[in-house]
Symmetry: C2
Subunit: 148 residues, 2 copies
């Protein structure tokens, strides 16, 4: 169908635009808190998925283990993360957050959510809910396409 292709095109545009403004906003908001976007994403993942090995963290974040290792390094240096050896596997490390790290993430998260809330303050709840459902579907579809 031709209409499907047109919708695909429109959707691609819309997502692209949204990605751009979101990224821009995130950079501003997050970087004002002494961590980079990738570092913040690692904080988030550790908060939500609990203590993780480096390998598992990398997988969660869809990043290479080397990239992940360096992101964690910077969080260690800043005192936001902890690295403890796994007693059962001498190769592995357990990654977790310090209280400072948890607090920092809570602060950043709060400010991001507040901004998001102010953005949707004018939009009816049912419209937001519909969008939510759709974004979820799109994400799943995209993940499937990536074979993940």
């Amino acid at each position: 169908m031709d209409s499907k292709l047109k919708r695909a095109e429109a959707l691609y545009e819309a997502v692209n635009q949204l990605i751009r403004v979101h990224q821009f906003r995130d950079r501003e908001s997050i970087c004002s808190h002494n961590v980079s976007v990738a570092q913040c994403y690692a904080l988030e993942t550790l908060v939500k998925r609990g203590p993780l090995r480096l390998k598992d963290l990398a997988e969660e974040m869809c990043l290479d283990k080397s990239t992940t290792s360096r992101v964690i390094d910077s969080l260690l240096r800043k005192g936001y993360a902890l690295k403890t050896l796994d007693p059962l596997d001498q190769r592995a490390v357990q990654l977790s957050l310090t209280p400072a790290g948890q607090e920092l993430y809570a602060t950043i998260h709060k400010s991001l959510i507040a901004e998001e809330a102010s953005m949707i303050s004018d939009i009816p709840d049912e419209v937001v809910d519909a969008a939510l459902a759709l974004l979820g579907k799109l994400t799943v579809a995209a993940r499937v396409r990536l074979g993940n």
Copy 2:
């Protein structure tokens, strides 16, 4: 309202997830065509907004002029862009695409759209339309918040 905050949080999550898979996908698809994501974005902007000065291109892309200058440089080196002096303003340059650049963008665009189409093939049209409307609203809202 508390429900507004919850929706904001859910929306933030959803957008974040979508951004991640999209970015991942775009990197793969675009980089297999000999240009980077930023370069492809410049191609796109030049295709859609016609010949532009560097300053205007930077504005369209929300990038610094120095970053833009370097992105264009790489497109010039690869033979995808053209830089001509503006006869009315000796400081300025007119940026446009070579036929090769136009062709390349058409190819990349086609493959991205095809992928998007296959992602939404299972989703009813009216649902896609609703999502489109919403993504647009969100983008506008975000732009307004950024003072743009």
